[in-house]
Amino acid sequence: MTSPDCILETRGLEKRFGGVVAIASVDFRLKQRELRCLIGPNGAGKSTFFKMLTAQLKPTTGQILFDGVDITRAQPHQVSRLGIGIKNQVPDVFNNLTVAENISVAARSRHGKARAAAKGKDVMERLGLTALTGRLVGELAHGQRQWVELAMVVALEPKLILLDEPAAGMTADETNKTAELIREVNKSAAIVVVEHDMQFIKQIAQTVTVFHQGRVLIEDTMDKVQGNELVREVYLGKSEDD
Protein backbone atom coordinates (compact mmCIF):
# COMPACT_ATOMS: atom_id res chain seq x y z
CA MET A 1 0.00 0.00 0.00
CA THR A 2 1.03 3.55 -0.64
CA SER A 3 1.01 6.11 2.10
CA PRO A 4 -2.17 8.23 2.06
CA ASP A 5 -0.46 11.48 1.06
CA CYS A 6 1.10 9.82 -1.99
CA ILE A 7 -0.89 10.15 -5.21
CA LEU A 8 1.48 8.40 -7.56
CA GLU A 9 4.12 5.79 -6.98
CA THR A 10 6.12 3.64 -9.37
CA ARG A 11 8.07 0.63 -8.14
CA GLY A 12 10.92 -0.73 -10.19
CA LEU A 13 9.31 0.56 -13.36
CA GLU A 14 11.13 -0.59 -16.45
CA LYS A 15 10.62 -0.36 -20.21
CA ARG A 16 12.77 -2.10 -22.78
CA PHE A 17 12.41 -1.79 -26.53
CA GLY A 18 14.23 -4.87 -27.73
CA GLY A 19 17.73 -4.43 -26.32
CA VAL A 20 17.32 -0.73 -25.57
CA VAL A 21 16.47 0.14 -22.00
CA ALA A 22 14.36 3.30 -22.11
CA ILE A 23 13.42 3.30 -18.44
CA ALA A 24 15.41 1.30 -15.89
CA SER A 25 13.88 0.51 -12.48
CA VAL A 26 12.45 3.89 -11.66
CA ASP A 27 11.03 4.40 -8.17
CA PHE A 28 9.08 7.61 -8.30
CA ARG A 29 6.85 9.10 -5.63
CA LEU A 30 4.60 12.09 -5.92
CA LYS A 31 2.62 13.67 -3.11
CA GLN A 32 -0.96 14.97 -3.37
CA ARG A 33 -1.02 18.40 -5.06
CA GLU A 34 2.71 18.37 -5.54
CA LEU A 35 4.24 20.27 -8.47
CA ARG A 36 7.18 18.35 -9.83
CA CYS A 37 9.44 19.17 -12.74
CA LEU A 38 11.06 16.42 -14.73
CA ILE A 39 14.16 17.32 -16.66
CA GLY A 40 16.84 15.44 -18.49
CA PRO A 41 18.55 15.36 -21.85
CA ASN A 42 16.79 14.03 -24.95
CA GLY A 43 16.34 10.29 -24.77
CA ALA A 44 16.48 10.25 -20.96
CA GLY A 45 13.13 8.46 -20.94
CA LYS A 46 10.84 11.26 -19.78
CA SER A 47 8.20 10.84 -22.47
CA THR A 48 8.38 7.04 -22.21
CA PHE A 49 7.79 7.41 -18.48
CA PHE A 50 4.73 9.59 -19.12
CA LYS A 51 3.41 7.18 -21.71
CA MET A 52 3.61 4.30 -19.24
CA LEU A 53 1.82 6.32 -16.56
CA THR A 54 -1.07 6.87 -18.98
CA ALA A 55 -1.11 3.31 -20.38
CA GLN A 56 -0.03 4.42 -23.84
CA LEU A 57 2.87 2.01 -23.35
CA LYS A 58 2.89 -1.15 -21.28
CA PRO A 59 5.78 -1.44 -18.82
CA THR A 60 8.15 -4.38 -19.25
CA THR A 61 8.30 -4.86 -15.49
CA GLY A 62 7.43 -2.90 -12.39
CA GLN A 63 4.32 -1.43 -10.90
CA ILE A 64 2.41 1.83 -11.10
CA LEU A 65 0.13 2.84 -8.25
CA PHE A 66 -2.19 5.79 -8.62
CA ASP A 67 -4.26 6.94 -5.67
CA GLY A 68 -3.93 3.49 -4.14
CA VAL A 69 -4.97 1.65 -7.33
CA ASP A 70 -2.61 -0.54 -9.34
CA ILE A 71 -2.86 0.81 -12.89
CA THR A 72 0.06 -1.11 -14.36
CA ARG A 73 -2.13 -3.12 -16.71
CA ALA A 74 -4.99 -0.65 -17.15
CA GLN A 75 -6.32 0.71 -20.47
CA PRO A 76 -5.75 4.38 -21.37
CA HIS A 77 -9.40 5.32 -20.90
CA GLN A 78 -9.47 3.67 -17.47
CA VAL A 79 -6.41 5.59 -16.35
CA SER A 80 -8.08 8.77 -17.55
CA ARG A 81 -11.28 7.94 -15.69
CA LEU A 82 -9.31 7.39 -12.49
CA GLY A 83 -8.05 10.96 -12.77
CA ILE A 84 -4.85 11.28 -14.77
CA GLY A 85 -4.80 13.84 -17.54
CA ILE A 86 -1.92 14.20 -19.97
CA LYS A 87 -0.78 16.72 -22.53
CA ASN A 88 1.46 14.88 -24.94
CA GLN A 89 4.63 16.32 -26.39
CA VAL A 90 3.23 16.91 -29.90
CA PRO A 91 -0.13 18.75 -29.80
CA ASP A 92 -2.58 15.90 -29.52
CA VAL A 93 -5.93 17.42 -30.44
CA PHE A 94 -8.91 16.94 -32.76
CA ASN A 95 -7.76 18.97 -35.75
CA ASN A 96 -10.98 18.91 -37.76
CA LEU A 97 -13.16 19.96 -34.85
CA THR A 98 -13.59 23.49 -33.54
CA VAL A 99 -11.99 24.72 -30.31
CA ALA A 100 -15.38 24.59 -28.58
CA GLU A 101 -16.00 21.03 -29.78
CA ASN A 102 -12.56 19.88 -28.64
CA ILE A 103 -13.16 21.18 -25.15
CA SER A 104 -16.74 19.96 -25.08
CA VAL A 105 -15.66 16.39 -25.85
CA ALA A 106 -13.21 16.59 -22.95
CA ALA A 107 -15.64 18.18 -20.47
CA ARG A 108 -18.46 15.76 -21.30
CA SER A 109 -16.22 12.84 -20.46
CA ARG A 110 -16.70 13.74 -16.79
CA HIS A 111 -19.75 15.94 -16.54
CA GLY A 112 -23.37 16.09 -17.62
CA LYS A 113 -24.43 18.45 -20.39
CA ALA A 114 -25.02 21.58 -18.30
CA ARG A 115 -21.95 21.26 -16.09
CA ALA A 116 -19.78 20.39 -19.09
CA ALA A 117 -20.93 23.53 -20.90
CA ALA A 118 -20.19 25.69 -17.87
CA LYS A 119 -16.85 24.00 -17.28
CA GLY A 120 -15.89 24.37 -20.95
CA LYS A 121 -16.78 28.05 -20.95
CA ASP A 122 -14.83 28.62 -17.75
CA VAL A 123 -11.74 26.82 -19.05
CA MET A 124 -11.82 28.69 -22.36
CA GLU A 125 -12.05 32.00 -20.53
CA ARG A 126 -9.17 31.13 -18.24
CA LEU A 127 -6.98 30.19 -21.19
CA GLY A 128 -8.10 33.09 -23.36
CA LEU A 129 -9.56 30.82 -26.02
CA THR A 130 -13.00 32.41 -26.07
CA ALA A 131 -12.28 34.41 -29.24
CA LEU A 132 -11.31 31.21 -31.03
CA THR A 133 -14.26 28.97 -30.10
CA GLY A 134 -15.55 28.53 -33.65
CA ARG A 135 -12.17 28.03 -35.30
CA LEU A 136 -10.94 24.64 -36.45
CA VAL A 137 -8.10 23.57 -34.20
CA GLY A 138 -6.05 22.39 -37.18
CA GLU A 139 -5.92 25.99 -38.47
CA LEU A 140 -4.50 27.43 -35.25
CA ALA A 141 -0.90 28.33 -34.46
CA HIS A 142 1.22 25.80 -32.60
CA GLY A 143 1.06 27.65 -29.28
CA GLN A 144 -2.70 28.02 -29.51
CA ARG A 145 -3.09 24.32 -30.20
CA GLN A 146 -0.98 23.59 -27.12
CA TRP A 147 -3.47 25.61 -25.12
CA VAL A 148 -6.43 23.83 -26.60
CA GLU A 149 -4.87 20.60 -25.42
CA LEU A 150 -4.14 22.10 -22.01
CA ALA A 151 -7.74 23.31 -21.84
CA MET A 152 -8.98 19.81 -22.62
CA VAL A 153 -6.84 18.34 -19.85
CA VAL A 154 -7.94 20.98 -17.35
CA ALA A 155 -11.60 20.43 -18.30
CA LEU A 156 -11.24 16.81 -17.17
CA GLU A 157 -10.50 18.05 -13.64
CA PRO A 158 -7.88 15.34 -13.10
CA LYS A 159 -6.20 14.63 -9.79
CA LEU A 160 -2.87 14.35 -11.56
CA ILE A 161 -1.83 16.29 -14.63
CA LEU A 162 1.16 15.28 -16.75
CA LEU A 163 2.46 17.99 -19.04
CA ASP A 164 5.01 17.02 -21.66
CA GLU A 165 6.74 20.23 -22.79
CA PRO A 166 3.76 22.53 -22.28
CA ALA A 167 5.72 25.68 -23.24
CA ALA A 168 7.35 24.33 -26.40
CA GLY A 169 6.86 26.66 -29.34
CA MET A 170 5.32 29.40 -27.22
CA THR A 171 6.24 33.07 -27.13
CA ALA A 172 7.60 34.56 -23.88
CA ASP A 173 4.20 35.99 -23.03
CA GLU A 174 2.49 32.71 -23.70
CA THR A 175 5.08 30.87 -21.59
CA ASN A 176 4.45 33.20 -18.64
CA LYS A 177 0.75 32.68 -18.99
CA THR A 178 1.24 28.92 -19.06
CA ALA A 179 3.32 29.06 -15.87
CA GLU A 180 0.58 31.10 -14.23
CA LEU A 181 -2.03 28.60 -15.30
CA ILE A 182 0.02 25.69 -13.99
CA ARG A 183 0.32 27.33 -10.58
CA GLU A 184 -3.42 27.93 -10.51
CA VAL A 185 -4.38 24.41 -11.56
CA ASN A 186 -1.90 23.09 -9.01
CA LYS A 187 -4.22 24.30 -6.24
CA SER A 188 -6.47 21.34 -6.94
CA ALA A 189 -4.25 18.80 -8.73
CA ALA A 190 -0.79 17.30 -8.57
CA ILE A 191 1.27 18.16 -11.64
CA VAL A 192 4.36 16.73 -13.28
CA VAL A 193 5.95 18.90 -15.94
CA VAL A 194 8.57 17.83 -18.45
CA GLU A 195 10.40 20.82 -19.89
CA HIS A 196 13.64 21.92 -21.48
CA ASP A 197 13.08 25.63 -20.94
CA MET A 198 15.05 26.35 -17.74
CA GLN A 199 13.54 29.82 -17.33
CA PHE A 200 10.15 28.20 -17.33
CA ILE A 201 11.21 25.52 -14.84
CA LYS A 202 12.57 28.18 -12.48
CA GLN A 203 9.22 29.96 -12.60
CA ILE A 204 7.26 26.97 -11.37
CA ALA A 205 9.68 24.46 -9.85
CA GLN A 206 9.41 23.18 -6.32
CA THR A 207 11.09 19.80 -6.56
CA VAL A 208 13.00 18.74 -9.65
CA THR A 209 13.69 15.18 -10.73
CA VAL A 210 16.49 14.65 -13.21
CA PHE A 211 16.27 11.68 -15.56
CA HIS A 212 19.38 10.37 -17.22
CA GLN A 213 19.59 7.26 -19.37
CA GLY A 214 16.30 5.96 -18.07
CA ARG A 215 17.22 6.39 -14.41
CA VAL A 216 16.54 8.99 -11.75
CA LEU A 217 19.84 10.83 -11.38
CA ILE A 218 18.87 13.17 -8.60
CA GLU A 219 15.77 14.60 -6.99
CA ASP A 220 16.01 17.93 -5.15
CA THR A 221 15.21 21.64 -5.22
CA MET A 222 16.03 23.58 -8.36
CA ASP A 223 18.99 25.35 -6.69
CA LYS A 224 20.56 22.14 -5.48
CA VAL A 225 19.95 20.43 -8.81
CA GLN A 226 21.56 23.30 -10.68
CA GLY A 227 24.51 23.22 -8.30
CA ASN A 228 25.02 19.49 -8.73
CA GLU A 229 28.17 18.62 -10.64
CA LEU A 230 26.79 15.45 -12.16
CA VAL A 231 23.71 17.23 -13.47
CA ARG A 232 25.80 20.02 -14.97
CA GLU A 233 27.85 17.40 -16.69
CA VAL A 234 25.00 15.44 -18.29
CA TYR A 235 22.56 18.18 -18.91
CA LEU A 236 22.78 21.72 -17.67
CA GLY A 237 26.37 22.22 -18.69
CA LYS A 238 25.31 22.34 -22.29
CA SER A 239 22.80 25.12 -21.74
CA GLU A 240 25.08 27.23 -19.47
CA ASP A 241 25.94 29.75 -22.13
CA ASP A 242 22.33 30.29 -23.32
Binding site: H77, S80, N95, L97, A100, V105, R135, L140, M152
Partner: protein
Protein backbone atom coordinates in the same frame (compact mmCIF):
# COMPACT_ATOMS: atom_id res chain seq x y z
CA UNK B 1 -24.95 27.90 -29.22
CA UNK B 2 -25.90 29.60 -32.48
CA UNK B 3 -24.48 26.71 -34.48
CA UNK B 4 -27.16 24.51 -32.89
CA UNK B 5 -29.96 26.64 -34.22
CA UNK B 6 -28.44 26.66 -37.69
CA UNK B 7 -28.00 22.89 -37.59
CA UNK B 8 -31.60 22.34 -36.52
CA UNK B 9 -32.85 24.77 -39.18
CA UNK B 10 -31.01 22.77 -41.81
CA UNK B 11 -32.42 19.55 -40.46
CA UNK B 12 -35.99 20.84 -40.57
CA UNK B 13 -35.45 22.10 -44.13
CA UNK B 14 -34.03 18.73 -45.19
CA UNK B 15 -36.98 16.92 -43.62
CA UNK B 16 -39.54 19.15 -45.34
CA UNK B 17 -37.74 18.79 -48.69
CA UNK B 18 -37.65 15.02 -48.23
CA UNK B 19 -41.38 14.85 -47.47
CA UNK B 20 -42.22 17.06 -50.46
CA UNK B 21 -40.17 14.83 -52.77
CA UNK B 22 -41.78 11.76 -51.27
CA UNK B 23 -45.29 13.03 -52.01
CA UNK B 24 -44.56 14.74 -55.32
CA UNK B 25 -42.45 12.16 -57.12
CA UNK B 26 -45.17 9.51 -57.59
CA UNK B 27 -47.37 12.23 -59.18
CA UNK B 28 -44.83 13.36 -61.76
CA UNK B 29 -42.74 10.27 -62.47
CA UNK B 30 -43.97 7.43 -64.69
CA UNK B 31 -44.60 4.02 -63.05
CA UNK B 32 -41.59 2.27 -64.60
CA UNK B 33 -39.28 4.96 -63.28
CA UNK B 34 -41.00 4.67 -59.88
CA UNK B 35 -39.84 1.07 -59.67
CA UNK B 36 -36.29 2.22 -60.32
CA UNK B 37 -36.62 5.11 -57.94
CA UNK B 38 -37.80 2.84 -55.14
CA UNK B 39 -34.65 0.73 -55.49
CA UNK B 40 -32.53 3.92 -55.43
CA UNK B 41 -34.18 4.94 -52.18
CA UNK B 42 -33.53 1.52 -50.65
CA UNK B 43 -29.90 1.56 -51.75
CA UNK B 44 -29.56 5.08 -50.38
CA UNK B 45 -30.37 3.67 -46.94
CA UNK B 46 -27.54 1.18 -47.43
CA UNK B 47 -25.25 4.01 -48.55
CA UNK B 48 -26.20 6.00 -45.43
CA UNK B 49 -25.19 3.10 -43.22
CA UNK B 50 -21.70 3.08 -44.74
CA UNK B 51 -21.67 6.88 -44.64
CA UNK B 52 -22.06 6.61 -40.87
CA UNK B 53 -19.49 3.87 -40.31
CA UNK B 54 -16.86 5.19 -42.70
CA UNK B 55 -17.53 8.92 -42.90
CA UNK B 56 -18.09 9.50 -39.19
CA UNK B 57 -16.72 6.42 -37.48
CA UNK B 58 -13.60 6.34 -39.65
CA UNK B 59 -14.08 2.58 -40.09
CA UNK B 60 -13.65 1.48 -43.70
CA UNK B 61 -15.90 -1.53 -44.00
CA UNK B 62 -15.54 -3.28 -47.35
CA UNK B 63 -18.37 -5.62 -46.52
CA UNK B 64 -21.33 -3.40 -45.78
CA UNK B 65 -23.35 -5.55 -48.19
CA UNK B 66 -22.87 -8.48 -45.78
CA UNK B 67 -25.26 -6.83 -43.31
CA UNK B 68 -27.56 -5.83 -46.15
CA UNK B 69 -27.71 -9.43 -47.32
CA UNK B 70 -28.10 -10.86 -43.83
CA UNK B 71 -31.01 -8.48 -43.27
CA UNK B 72 -32.61 -9.55 -46.54
CA UNK B 73 -32.17 -13.27 -45.81
CA UNK B 74 -33.30 -12.88 -42.19
CA UNK B 75 -36.49 -11.21 -43.40
CA UNK B 76 -37.14 -13.68 -46.22
CA UNK B 77 -36.59 -16.79 -44.12
CA UNK B 78 -38.58 -15.48 -41.17
CA UNK B 79 -41.53 -14.16 -43.19
CA UNK B 80 -41.90 -17.42 -45.10
CA UNK B 81 -42.07 -19.22 -41.76
CA UNK B 82 -44.19 -16.75 -39.78
CA UNK B 83 -46.60 -15.44 -42.40
CA UNK B 84 -46.95 -12.14 -40.54
CA UNK B 85 -44.10 -9.73 -41.34
CA UNK B 86 -43.85 -7.83 -38.05
CA UNK B 87 -41.25 -10.00 -36.35
CA UNK B 88 -39.35 -10.70 -39.61
CA UNK B 89 -38.98 -6.94 -40.09
CA UNK B 90 -37.52 -6.61 -36.60
CA UNK B 91 -35.25 -9.60 -37.21
CA UNK B 92 -33.93 -7.98 -40.38
CA UNK B 93 -32.62 -5.17 -38.15
CA UNK B 94 -31.61 -7.14 -35.07
CA UNK B 95 -29.84 -10.10 -36.72
CA UNK B 96 -27.38 -8.06 -38.85
CA UNK B 97 -26.94 -5.64 -35.94
CA UNK B 98 -25.92 -8.50 -33.65
CA UNK B 99 -23.76 -10.03 -36.37
CA UNK B 100 -21.96 -6.69 -36.78
CA UNK B 101 -21.59 -6.43 -33.01
CA UNK B 102 -20.07 -9.89 -32.78
CA UNK B 103 -17.71 -9.34 -35.71
CA UNK B 104 -16.85 -5.87 -34.40
CA UNK B 105 -16.14 -7.24 -30.93
CA UNK B 106 -13.40 -9.51 -32.24
CA UNK B 107 -11.96 -6.88 -34.57
CA UNK B 108 -12.08 -3.75 -32.41
CA UNK B 109 -11.15 -5.37 -29.11
CA UNK B 110 -8.22 -7.07 -30.79
CA UNK B 111 -7.29 -3.61 -32.10
CA UNK B 112 -7.10 -4.77 -35.70
CA UNK B 113 -5.69 -1.98 -37.86
CA UNK B 114 -7.68 -0.27 -40.64
CA UNK B 115 -6.28 -2.15 -43.61
CA UNK B 116 -6.86 -5.55 -42.04
CA UNK B 117 -10.30 -4.44 -41.02
CA UNK B 118 -11.14 -3.76 -44.66
CA UNK B 119 -9.70 -7.09 -45.76
CA UNK B 120 -11.51 -9.07 -43.08
CA UNK B 121 -14.91 -7.45 -43.68
CA UNK B 122 -14.57 -8.06 -47.43
CA UNK B 123 -13.63 -11.67 -46.77
CA UNK B 124 -16.64 -12.14 -44.50
CA UNK B 125 -18.92 -10.97 -47.31
CA UNK B 126 -17.33 -13.32 -49.80
CA UNK B 127 -17.56 -16.21 -47.35
CA UNK B 128 -21.27 -15.51 -46.96
CA UNK B 129 -21.56 -15.45 -50.75
CA UNK B 130 -19.97 -18.89 -51.02
CA UNK B 131 -21.86 -20.33 -48.07
CA UNK B 132 -25.27 -19.16 -49.23
CA UNK B 133 -24.39 -20.30 -52.75
CA UNK B 134 -23.70 -23.81 -51.45
CA UNK B 135 -27.21 -24.24 -50.04
CA UNK B 136 -28.87 -25.51 -53.21
CA UNK B 137 -29.97 -28.96 -52.09
CA UNK B 138 -33.41 -29.76 -50.68
CA UNK B 139 -31.75 -30.49 -47.33
CA UNK B 140 -30.91 -26.78 -46.88
CA UNK B 141 -34.18 -25.63 -45.44
CA UNK B 142 -34.89 -23.38 -42.48
CA UNK B 143 -38.42 -24.23 -41.36
CA UNK B 144 -40.55 -23.80 -44.46
CA UNK B 145 -37.92 -21.70 -46.29
CA UNK B 146 -35.64 -23.44 -48.79
CA UNK B 147 -32.39 -21.48 -49.15
CA UNK B 148 -31.97 -22.34 -52.81
CA UNK B 149 -28.23 -21.86 -53.32
CA UNK B 150 -27.30 -19.41 -56.07
CA UNK B 151 -30.92 -19.44 -57.27
CA UNK B 152 -31.89 -17.72 -54.04
CA UNK B 153 -35.30 -17.52 -52.43
CA UNK B 154 -38.10 -16.61 -54.85
CA UNK B 155 -41.54 -15.24 -53.99
CA UNK B 156 -40.60 -13.56 -50.74
CA UNK B 157 -43.89 -12.42 -49.19
CA UNK B 158 -44.25 -8.63 -48.88
CA UNK B 159 -44.52 -6.64 -45.67
CA UNK B 160 -48.00 -6.35 -44.24
CA UNK B 161 -49.80 -4.24 -41.68
CA UNK B 162 -48.61 -5.45 -38.25
CA UNK B 163 -50.74 -8.43 -37.28
CA UNK B 164 -52.71 -8.40 -40.56
CA UNK B 165 -50.98 -10.72 -43.07
CA UNK B 166 -53.91 -10.23 -45.45
CA UNK B 167 -53.21 -6.49 -45.85
CA UNK B 168 -49.95 -6.54 -47.84
CA UNK B 169 -47.89 -3.55 -48.84
CA UNK B 170 -48.55 -2.37 -52.40
CA UNK B 171 -45.75 -1.27 -54.67
CA UNK B 172 -46.62 2.40 -54.17
CA UNK B 173 -46.72 1.65 -50.48
CA UNK B 174 -43.19 0.27 -50.64
CA UNK B 175 -41.99 3.53 -52.18
CA UNK B 176 -43.56 5.58 -49.39
CA UNK B 177 -42.30 3.21 -46.72
CA UNK B 178 -38.77 3.21 -48.15
CA UNK B 179 -38.79 6.99 -48.53
CA UNK B 180 -40.00 7.49 -44.97
CA UNK B 181 -37.42 5.01 -43.72
CA UNK B 182 -34.65 6.86 -45.55
CA UNK B 183 -35.85 10.13 -44.10
CA UNK B 184 -36.17 8.68 -40.60
CA UNK B 185 -32.69 7.13 -40.76
CA UNK B 186 -31.24 10.41 -42.03
CA UNK B 187 -32.88 12.49 -39.32
CA UNK B 188 -32.07 9.90 -36.67
CA UNK B 189 -28.41 9.85 -37.61
CA UNK B 190 -28.24 13.64 -37.73
CA UNK B 191 -29.62 13.80 -34.20
CA UNK B 192 -27.34 11.01 -33.04
CA UNK B 193 -24.29 12.81 -34.41
CA UNK B 194 -25.24 15.92 -32.45
CA UNK B 195 -25.48 13.96 -29.21
CA UNK B 196 -22.60 13.22 -26.86
CA UNK B 197 -22.28 9.78 -28.40
CA UNK B 198 -21.96 11.24 -31.90
CA UNK B 199 -19.44 13.82 -30.76
CA UNK B 200 -17.29 11.11 -29.24
CA UNK B 201 -17.53 8.93 -32.37
CA UNK B 202 -16.26 11.81 -34.51
CA UNK B 203 -13.57 12.64 -31.96
CA UNK B 204 -12.33 9.05 -32.12
CA UNK B 205 -12.17 9.25 -35.91
CA UNK B 206 -10.12 12.43 -35.56
CA UNK B 207 -7.71 11.17 -32.92
CA UNK B 208 -8.32 7.84 -31.25
CA UNK B 209 -5.50 8.13 -28.71
CA UNK B 210 -6.61 11.56 -27.54
CA UNK B 211 -10.18 10.36 -27.14
CA UNK B 212 -8.95 7.47 -24.99
CA UNK B 213 -6.79 9.78 -22.90
CA UNK B 214 -9.94 11.81 -22.28
CA UNK B 215 -11.54 8.70 -20.81
CA UNK B 216 -13.52 7.27 -23.73
CA UNK B 217 -13.21 3.59 -24.58
CA UNK B 218 -12.69 3.87 -28.36
CA UNK B 219 -13.30 0.14 -28.85
CA UNK B 220 -16.79 0.39 -27.40
CA UNK B 221 -17.76 3.47 -29.41
CA UNK B 222 -16.51 1.93 -32.66
CA UNK B 223 -18.32 -1.29 -31.90
CA UNK B 224 -21.58 0.56 -31.24
CA UNK B 225 -21.25 2.61 -34.43
CA UNK B 226 -20.50 -0.51 -36.42
CA UNK B 227 -23.50 -2.35 -34.98
CA UNK B 228 -25.83 0.59 -35.68
CA UNK B 229 -24.52 0.72 -39.26
CA UNK B 230 -25.06 -3.03 -39.59
CA UNK B 231 -28.64 -2.75 -38.33
CA UNK B 232 -29.44 0.06 -40.79
CA UNK B 233 -27.93 -1.91 -43.67
CA UNK B 234 -30.06 -4.90 -42.61
CA UNK B 235 -33.22 -2.80 -42.70
CA UNK B 236 -32.31 -1.72 -46.25
CA UNK B 237 -31.84 -5.41 -47.08
CA UNK B 238 -35.36 -6.17 -45.84
CA UNK B 239 -36.80 -3.46 -48.09
CA UNK B 240 -34.71 -4.77 -50.97
CA UNK B 241 -36.12 -8.28 -50.53
CA UNK B 242 -39.56 -6.67 -50.67
CA UNK B 243 -38.69 -4.69 -53.76
CA UNK B 244 -37.61 -7.69 -55.83
CA UNK B 245 -39.71 -10.22 -53.87
CA UNK B 246 -36.57 -12.26 -54.28
CA UNK B 247 -33.19 -12.63 -52.64
CA UNK B 248 -30.05 -14.41 -53.81
CA UNK B 249 -26.37 -14.62 -52.74
CA UNK B 250 -25.58 -11.91 -55.30
CA UNK B 251 -26.22 -9.37 -52.53
CA UNK B 252 -22.98 -10.64 -50.92
CA UNK B 253 -21.02 -10.39 -54.17
CA UNK B 254 -17.97 -8.27 -54.80
CA UNK B 255 -19.85 -5.95 -57.16
CA UNK B 256 -22.42 -5.06 -54.53
CA UNK B 257 -19.75 -4.39 -51.88
CA UNK B 258 -17.75 -2.17 -54.20
CA UNK B 259 -20.80 -0.25 -55.35
CA UNK B 260 -21.65 1.03 -51.88
CA UNK B 261 -18.14 2.35 -51.42
CA UNK B 262 -18.28 4.11 -54.79
CA UNK B 263 -21.56 5.83 -53.87
CA UNK B 264 -20.03 7.15 -50.67
CA UNK B 265 -16.82 8.27 -52.39
CA UNK B 266 -18.68 10.12 -55.13
CA UNK B 267 -21.18 11.71 -52.74
CA UNK B 268 -18.58 12.57 -50.15
CA UNK B 269 -17.50 11.07 -46.84
CA UNK B 270 -18.09 12.93 -43.61
CA UNK B 271 -21.58 14.02 -44.62
CA UNK B 272 -24.91 12.21 -44.50
CA UNK B 273 -26.33 13.86 -47.60
CA UNK B 274 -23.31 12.80 -49.68
CA UNK B 275 -23.93 9.04 -49.66
CA UNK B 276 -27.58 9.62 -50.60
CA UNK B 277 -26.68 11.96 -53.46
CA UNK B 278 -23.89 9.68 -54.66
CA UNK B 279 -26.16 6.64 -54.56
CA UNK B 280 -28.94 8.31 -56.56
CA UNK B 281 -26.56 9.84 -59.09
CA UNK B 282 -24.52 6.72 -59.80
CA UNK B 283 -27.56 4.46 -59.98
CA UNK B 284 -29.35 6.86 -62.29
CA UNK B 285 -26.33 7.03 -64.57
CA UNK B 286 -26.04 3.25 -64.49
CA UNK B 287 -29.69 2.89 -65.47
CA UNK B 288 -29.27 5.37 -68.33
CA UNK B 289 -26.12 3.65 -69.51
CA UNK B 290 -27.84 0.30 -69.37
CA UNK B 291 -30.45 1.60 -71.82
CA UNK B 292 -27.95 2.36 -74.57
CA UNK B 293 -25.62 0.17 -76.61
CA UNK B 294 -22.95 2.67 -77.63
CA UNK B 295 -20.68 2.42 -74.60
CA UNK B 296 -19.99 -0.29 -72.09
CA UNK B 297 -21.70 0.80 -68.88
CA UNK B 298 -18.97 -0.42 -66.53
CA UNK B 299 -16.32 1.34 -68.57
CA UNK B 300 -18.12 4.65 -68.20
CA UNK B 301 -18.81 4.12 -64.49
CA UNK B 302 -15.15 3.25 -63.95
CA UNK B 303 -14.10 6.43 -65.72
CA UNK B 304 -16.48 8.45 -63.58
CA UNK B 305 -15.06 6.94 -60.40
CA UNK B 306 -11.46 7.63 -61.44
CA UNK B 307 -12.45 11.14 -62.44
CA UNK B 308 -13.96 11.73 -59.02
CA UNK B 309 -11.05 10.33 -57.08
CA UNK B 310 -8.64 12.53 -59.05
CA UNK B 311 -10.66 15.72 -59.49
CA UNK B 312 -13.22 15.80 -56.67
CA UNK B 313 -11.51 13.73 -53.98
CA UNK B 314 -13.76 15.04 -51.22
CA UNK B 315 -16.91 14.06 -53.11
CA UNK B 316 -19.80 16.13 -54.44
CA UNK B 317 -21.50 17.32 -51.28
CA UNK B 318 -18.43 18.53 -49.31
CA UNK B 319 -17.04 20.23 -52.42
CA UNK B 320 -20.29 22.06 -53.17
CA UNK B 321 -20.83 23.10 -49.55
CA UNK B 322 -17.23 24.36 -49.30
CA UNK B 323 -17.80 26.44 -52.43
CA UNK B 324 -21.04 27.86 -51.00
CA UNK B 325 -19.32 28.70 -47.74
CA UNK B 326 -16.59 30.55 -49.61
CA UNK B 327 -19.22 32.57 -51.43
CA UNK B 328 -21.07 33.36 -48.24
CA UNK B 329 -18.21 34.28 -45.96
CA UNK B 330 -15.00 36.00 -46.75
CA UNK B 331 -12.04 34.02 -45.51
CA UNK B 332 -11.64 34.53 -41.79
CA UNK B 333 -8.30 36.02 -40.81
CA UNK B 334 -7.26 35.20 -37.30
CA UNK B 335 -6.15 38.01 -35.01
CA UNK B 336 -2.45 37.31 -35.03
CA UNK B 337 -0.76 37.07 -31.70
CA UNK B 338 2.36 39.15 -31.93
CA UNK B 339 5.12 36.67 -32.49
CA UNK B 340 8.28 37.30 -30.57
CA UNK B 341 11.37 35.24 -30.35
CA UNK B 342 12.00 33.63 -27.02
CA UNK B 343 15.30 35.05 -25.78
Amino acid sequence: MTANWQGNGGLVAATVLGLVLLLALPQIVDPVMMIELTSYVIMAILALSLGLIWGYGGILCFGQSAFFGIGAYAYAIAVINFGDSTIPLLLSIVVPGLFAALLGYFLFYARITDVYFGVITLTVTLILYKVMGATSGSQYVIGAAPLGGYNGIPAVPPLNLPGRPDVALSFDGLFYLSGLTLLAVYVGLRLMLKSRFGQVVVAIRENERRAELLGYDARFYKLATFAIGGAIAGLAGCLFANWGMFISPDVFGLAQSAQVIIWVIVGGTGTLLGPIVGCFAIQWIATKLGAQQLLNANLVLGTILIGFVLLVPKGVVPTVSDALRRLKFRPYVAPLVEQRRVP
